[in-house]
């Protein structure tokens, strides 16, 4: 009895040690690697790859580690309280998310913000877009081992985060956009500070090209890696700079303009190759275009109210005084009991990573009946399943970084 149980233990120990090199359904001897949530190169998600030698044969993205149920939470909260919820997942370009939600809400309510508010929203959205692209390039750099790109990305981004701090009072989560306008006006010194920052960024872009984009090692790692063909990108519903690097010039700011974008002058960068290098190039070009948009917006900034007159009518005298003296909106009681009429509304915006969709179903009560929200990273997850097989294991971080995929944004 004892001898046979020891023998069983020995055999099972042997089996456990060889458990990984079994034969899977493809008939190959594959090694399954879990690039899991505590891996330095995975972010908040788990990527299961099956590797044959050095080639990835199958890839299964396992998302949902940071699922915060924002859609369900909003069903129990008044409309105003969803604004901070909506900006938390997409922590880097928060403003386009709030703009989208408030656009859908304003369509339900049937009001439109005054022109100055539209320009302020646009300017903040472009500042956060630059910050988001710098973050994306920084993450790509550290995945490739290029620590200088990482530190420069975060260092340069600090400038724009500080500017947003000046404008809205918070560094990353602003809650700046409210139904009917914006919450604060820009300070007096703001245009000069912005101009200084933009000039600094233009100088830095030249350094970036020298050390990162024209670096032979980086070019070797990114060229011809993760090629996404045009019809695949369209079929899979990919969005954002990933789509534009594959030859489709779709940008929501041009196709379906919102806020002040139809009055501003900018171009949409498009590349043809569809590889990781093209995606990175498109992001750098978008930074340049965002610089142009911010300059244009500052030049064309109209004067006037920053909150819709219908809402301003509901200010009590103290709020009116504060608004006139410091141009800050103190929320009137209407915001707490905001009851938009029964109906549905859809809005979409171009966030830093692509197109975000907002759909609100209202039944006339102060809480939304259903809030549906799709983020660009959520639509890009499918690339893990279809684009990665066939590449080498070391290409996985390169492709992941070039997609600028942000797990909390995908999980919402």
């Amino acid at each position: 009895m004892v001898a046979s149980s020891i023998a069983i233990e020995e055999i099972s120990k042997e089996l456990i040690q060889t458990r990984d090199l079994g034969v899977t359904e493809e008939g190959e001897r594959l090694v399954e690697l879990q690039i899991g949530p505590t891996h330095p190169g995975s972010g908040h998600m788990r990527i299961r790859v099956w590797v044959d030698g050095d080639i990835i044969v199958r890839c299964d993205p396992d998302i949902g580690f940071v699922f915060r149920t924002i859609e369900k939470l909003s069903e129990n909260r008044i409309y105003m309280k969803t604004i901070p919820l909506v900006e938390r997942p997409s922590l880097l370009d928060t403003t386009p998310m709030t703009i989208g939600y408030i656009n859908a809400l304003e369509k339900l309510m049937g009001i439109e913000p005054p022109p100055r508010a539209k320009y302020l929203r646009t300017m903040l959205a472009e500042l956060t877009r630059i910050a988001s692209h710098l973050y994306g390039v920084g993450i790509l750099s550290i995945f490739l081992g290029h620590s200088t790109g990482f530190m420069w990305g975060f260092g340069d981004r600090e400038l724009f985060v500080e500017l947003a701090n000046q404008l809205s009072g918070a560094r990353i989560t602003y809650a700046y956009v409210v139904p009917g306008g914006v919450r604060r006006d820009m300070p007096q010194s703001f245009p000069d500070d912005v101009e200084k920052a933009l000039r600094y960024m233009e100088r830095r872009l030249k350094d970036w090209y020298k050390i990162f984009l024209n670096n032979p090692v980086i070019e070797d790692r990114l060229r011809e890696v993760g090629v996404l063909r045009k019809n695949d990108a369209v079929k899979l519903g990919i969005t954002g700079p990933n789509l534009r690097a594959s030859g489709v010039d779709f940008d929501v700011r041009v196709a379906d303009p919102y806020e002040a974008y139809d009055e501003l002058d900018f171009m949409v960068p498009v590349a043809e190759e569809g590889d990781a290098y093209a995606r990175t190039l498109v992001r750098f070009e978008e930074i340049k275009q965002s610089i142009n948009i911010i300059r244009d917006a500052l030049k064309k900034m109209p004067s006037g109210d920053i909150i819709h007159p219908q809402i301003a009518r509901m200010f009590n005298p103290l709020m009116k005084k504060i608004y006139e003296e410091t141009r800050r909106v103190k929320f009137p009681g209407i915001f707490a009991s905001l009851k938009p009429p029964k109906g549905e509304a859809t809005a979409r915006v171009e966030a830093g990573r692509g197109e975000a969709l907002f759909h609100i179903v209202s039944d006339g009560s102060p809480r939304p009946y259903r809030f549906r929200w799709t983020t660009p990273s959520y639509r890009n997850v499918i690339l893990f399943k279809y684009m990665i097989p066939g590449h080498r294991l070391a290409d996985l971080p390169a492709i992941y970084g070039s997609l600028d995929y942000f797990p909390p944004e995908a999980d919402r």
């Binding site: 369900k72 129990n76 049937g110 369209v234 549905e344 259903r370 499918i382 399943k385």
Partner: protein, 180 residues
């Protein structure tokens, strides 16, 4: 800036008219398949209501007209009417149609919500159908890989997206896994 206002509203009127025209043309293509096609000028969408048995047909027609990807696929739960409405936002990357979206709606029986999978027509709906299944319990017939996407294993048999899902709250002194 003031001079741009009438220009903008004129533009909007023209857009609204174009949207209505597009909606009438779409309803011609979808004759007999869709029960209702109407334009929503505020959101620049065209709502297309179909019966459950005609979802695939309508999807094929829309795909051939140029709508090439799914932006969002989800359900809306109406427990008092006994239906779960499947709501699919479809868009297009082609030049003419990229300005609008179409919303394909279909009412499914709440006690046994089943719908045909749209992955054969629009591969972009693969992961979104998984999420709709795990949130509402809508079984997509023919889906290649219907399993949970965002929720952990403890949510077997629970459909959190539905209105009758009791959101677990923790009382003082309670420990982990209150949904068991």
């Amino acid at each position: 800036m003031a001079s741009q206002q009438p220009q903008a509203s004129q533009q909007r009127l023209a857009l609204g008219k174009a949207l209505e025209e597009l909606a009438t043309r779409l309803s011609e293509h979808l004759k007999g398949v869709a029960t209702k096609v109407e334009a929503d000028k505020r959101s620049m969408v065209i709502n297309i209501e179909v019966d459950r048995s005609r979802i695939l047909e309508a999807a094929k027609i829309l795909s051939s007209l140029g709508f090439d990807h799914v932006k969002s696929l989800t359900g809306v739960d109406y427990p008092d009417k006994g239906v779960i409405e499947l709501m699919v936002h479809i868009g297009s990357y082609s030049r003419g149609l990229r300005r609008i979206m179409a919303i394909l709606r279909s009412k499914l029986d709440r006690k046994d919500p089943r719908a045909p999978t749209l992955t054969q027509i629009w591969p972009s709906s693969e992961l979104q159908e998984r999420e709709a299944w795990e949130m509402f319990g809508i079984v997509f017939e023919g889906h290649p890989d219907l399993r949970r996407l965002l929720l952990p294993e403890e949510f077997e048999g629970l459909w959190p997206g539905r209105k009758d899902f009791e959101i677990p709250t923790r009382k003082a002194g309670e420990v982990e896994e209150p949904w068991k």
